[in-house]
Symmetry: C2
C-alpha cells in the first residue's frame, strides 16, 4: 500500500514501546502527518485535525504536495481553517494504511506485516498517539482539535484523556459512543471482508490474493450509509444506465445509475485500502464508549472533559450512521462540563459525508468559530 | 423448498399461458393461497392480502393449519381483520418459493427447476396473477385489498390495472415506485448472493451447494433496513454477549447483542428461502414505478386508480426502506383520484417491519377502517 502514502507525509516516532489500551504494545511505531502554515513562537496557534476511518493525512494541498487534499476547500490561506493564522496538523490515524503504523505495517520483531498479530486497536490508542505527536511538536496546548466522524470520537477521547490539551474543539458528525445500528452496519462490512476466501484469515497480498469482493461490498455498504436517501432521490431518481454501460449478459447486473455510482465508488477504494486495517479501525469504533469508565454514562464521560473553552458541534439531519442525536448529546455534555458550546444541526441532504462536500454550509460555520477563537487562552490573557 | 409450504395452502391454476409483462409466458403456473372466513352469497365480503417479499400465504391460523401465522394478531374472529365478517384471502406472491410458481418451481417444459430461465418478473405480473385468482374465486369486486411493503406495490398495481376491482384499500409501508436508496440496498443484497461461489449462476441445491453465506449477508442487510436505529438503541444498546456465547478464537467475531440478533435472524432464513426467488422478487421491486406509463409522474399513475371508494394509507416514521414520504405520496394521489383517503403516520419505533409487530398501533387502525367499510359498495346500495 506504500504507493498510496501522499508525498507530503511527515513521520513522528511514537514512544517505544507504545502501550495499547486493550493489551500489548507497539515497538517502533510511528504516525504519518502533514502540516500547513507556521507554528507561532508561543506554539499557541495549532489546529489538529483527526480524520474519519479512510482518509490519509493529505487534507489539503501545500508546498510539499500540490495535489488537492480531501478537505481542500476547508484548509488553506483565506479558507475556513486559515493557514495564514493557524498551524494546521492532520494526522493519519494509528492503525491506518496511509503511513501510520497499522496491521499492514512491518512488525519490527519479524520484519513481516503484523496482519492479525497487530494488537487490538481502540480509539483511545489513536488519541494517545495524537497526544504524543502534539507534545512532540512542542505544543503544550492546541488552539483547536477538529474531529470528523471517527475523528470526532478520537477528539473526544483526546480531550477526556488529556485535560486542557485544547482550548477549542470542532466536533463534526462525531459520537461519544457507538450505537447498535452503526455497530450492525460495521459488523456486516467486516463480515463481507472475512467471508471473502481471499481474505484468508488476514493473509493476502495487494495483487491477485486481495479480498476484492469483500472490500467492494464493505465499501458499497459504507457509501450507502455515508450519504442519504434524500440526496439520491434528487441525484439519481430512477435513471437507468445507457445500454452501452450495461452488461446484459450479467444476470441481475447493474441497471440503475445508483448501482453504477456505488460500483464506481467501490472500485476506486479496493486495492487502495488494506483490508486488515479496515477491520481493525472498524472494530475500534464499535468499542468506543466515552461512558465506559462511568457505568455507560456518557454525560459523566463528557463531564470529565475539563479545560476546554469553546466548542462547535455539528450534526447532519440526514446522517443515519452517526445520527444527529449523538451530536446533540456531545454538545449538551460539553456545555455541562462548562465549555461554551454551539450546536449546529445542518440541513445538508448529503448525510454523514456532508462535511466533505457541503462547502456552503460547513465552510462558514467552521470559519466563524475559528475567527472568534482567541489566539491565546482566556487564562493566558490575564498573565 | 417444498417442506416450507404451509399445510393449509390451496392452489389456483393461472391461465396458461400466463403472459409476463417484460416478455415470455408461464405454462401451467399456479398461485398458492389460504383463506379464512366465508365468502357471502353476493361475493361482496372478500379481503385480499398481498404480502411483502418473504412471507408465505399462512398469515393466520385456521382450520386447515392451526399453527400461528405471520399476522396472527391481525386476522381471525374478533380480530382487526375479522373473519366472522370478512372472507380473507392471502396470496403467496408469484415468483416466491412458498407454493406459488417461481424460479425454484419445475418448468413444465423440462421437468427441471426454472432457475434463471424463469422469465423476468415484475410487480405487475404478481398483480395480474392476483386478479386472476380473485376472478377465479368468483369475486367481481373485493371489499378491500390490503398490501404490506412489496404487497403495497402489488396492490397499487392491481388497483391501477383493474379499475374497480376493490372498494377499499389498506396500503401499509408501500410505495408507488422504488427509490434509489432502496434500490441500492437491494442491489447490494443481490450482489452478496451472486458473489457467493455456491450461487453458481443460479445452479445450486438446497443442501451442500446452497449459497448460505450470500443469503446470510442479504438477510442481515435486510433486517438492518427493516427495523430502526431507534428501536435497537432501546433494545440492545451496547450490551455484550456473555462469554459462553462468544467465540474468541474467531477474529472479529460476534461480540455485541445486536450482532448476535442479526446472526440469529439470518440463520432462521437461510435454507428456508430460495436464492433465485429472492433475486427475482428483489429486482421486481426495483423495477416498479406506477408512473412508468406517465413519464414517471406518480400522481398521474395514482390518478388512473378509479373506482376505489375508501383507502387507509399507513407509513412509519422510522422506516428507512419505504420512507414515509412514499406513503404520503400514495395518500395524496389516491385523494386526487377521488378516493376518501386517510393517511396515518405511525410513530412506531420498529421501522419498516412495524406492521408485523406493533399490534397496539396497527390493530386498531386497520380494525377501525374495516369496521367503517360498508359491506356493499356505495353504488350498489342505490340499486
Amino acid at each position: 500500500m506504500a504507493e498510496f502514502i501522499p508525498p507530503g507525509t511527515r513521520w513522528f516516532d511514537l514512544p517505544s514501546p507504545f502501550p495499547m489500551k486493550r493489551g500489548g504494545a507497539l515497538q517502533g511505531a510511528r504516525l504519518a502527518y502533514e502540516t500547513w502554515g507556521r507554528l507561532d513562537a508561543a506554539a499557541s496557534n495549532a489546529v489538529l485535525i483527526l480524520t474519519g476511518m479512510s482518509p490519509d493525512a493529505h487534507a489539503a494541498s501545500g508546498e510539499a504536495d500540490p495535489a488537492p487534499g480531501w478537505w481542500e476547500w476547508m484548509i488553506g490561506p483565506g479558507k475556513p481553517i486559515d493557514t495564514r493564522r493557524w498551524f494546521v496538523v492532520c494526522v493519519n490515524a494509528l492503525g491506518s494504511c496511509k503511513g501510520s503504523t497499522g496491521p499492514a505495517s512491518a512488525d519490527a520483531a519479524t520484519g513481516e506485516p503484523y496482519r492479525l498479530a497487530f494488537p487490538e486497536l481502540s480509539i483511545e490508542d489513536g488519541a494517545d498517539a495524537a497526544a504524543a505527536l502534539v507534545r512532540g511538536l512542542g505544543i503544550q496546548r492546541l488552539a483547536c482539535v477538529v474531529g470528523n466522524s471517527m475523528g470526532g470520537m478520537s477528539a473526544l477521547s483526546l480531550l477526556a484523556r488529556y485535560p486542557g490539551i485544547a482550548r477549542g474543539h470542532v466536533n463534526i458528525c462525531g459520537a461519544a459512543r457507538a450505537l447498535p445500528f452503526s455497530i450492525a452496519i460495521r459488523s456486516l462490512q467486516r463480515e463481507a471482508i472475512r467471508l471473502d476466501p481471499r481474505w484468508n484469515g488476514g493473509d493476502y497480498d495487494d495483487a491477485e490474493h486481495y479480498p476484492e469482493n469483500g472490500m467492494r461490498m464493505a465499501r458499497k455498504l459504507g457509501v450507502i450509509t455515508y450519504r442519504s436517501a434524500l440526496e439520491w432521490d434528487g441525484r439519481f431518481g430512477r435513471v437507468r444506465l445507457d445500454s452501452e454501460r450495461r452488461d446484459d449478459d450479467e444476470p441481475f447486473g447493474l441497471e440503475f445509475e445508483v448501482e453504477s455510482y456505488l460500483e464506481a465508488h467501490a472500485r476506486r477504494f479496493v486495492h487502495r485500502y488494506d483490508p486488515n486495517c479496515y477491520l481493525y479501525l472498524s472494530r475500534s469504533m464499535d468499542w468506543f464508549d466515552l461512558g465506559e469508565a462511568h457505568g455507560g454514562d456518557i454525560a459523566r464521560g463528557l463531564a470529565a472533559i475539563t479545560g476546554l473553552e469553546r466548542a462547535l458541534v455539528i450534526g447532519v439531519k440526514t446522517d443515519i450512521l452517526f445520527p444527529i442525536q449523538q451530536q446533540e448529546e456531545i454538545a449538551a455534555g460539553l456545555r455541562d462540563a462548562g465549555c461554551a458550546t454551539r450546536f449546529l444541526p445542518m440541513p445538508s441532504p448529503q448525510g454523514h459525508d456532508a462535511f466533505l462536500v457541503d462547502e456552503e454550509r460547513f465552510g462558514p460555520a467552521v470559519a466563524a468559530f475559528l475567527r472568534a477563537l482567541p489566539c491565546t487562552a482566556v487564562n493566558d490573557k490575564v498573565a
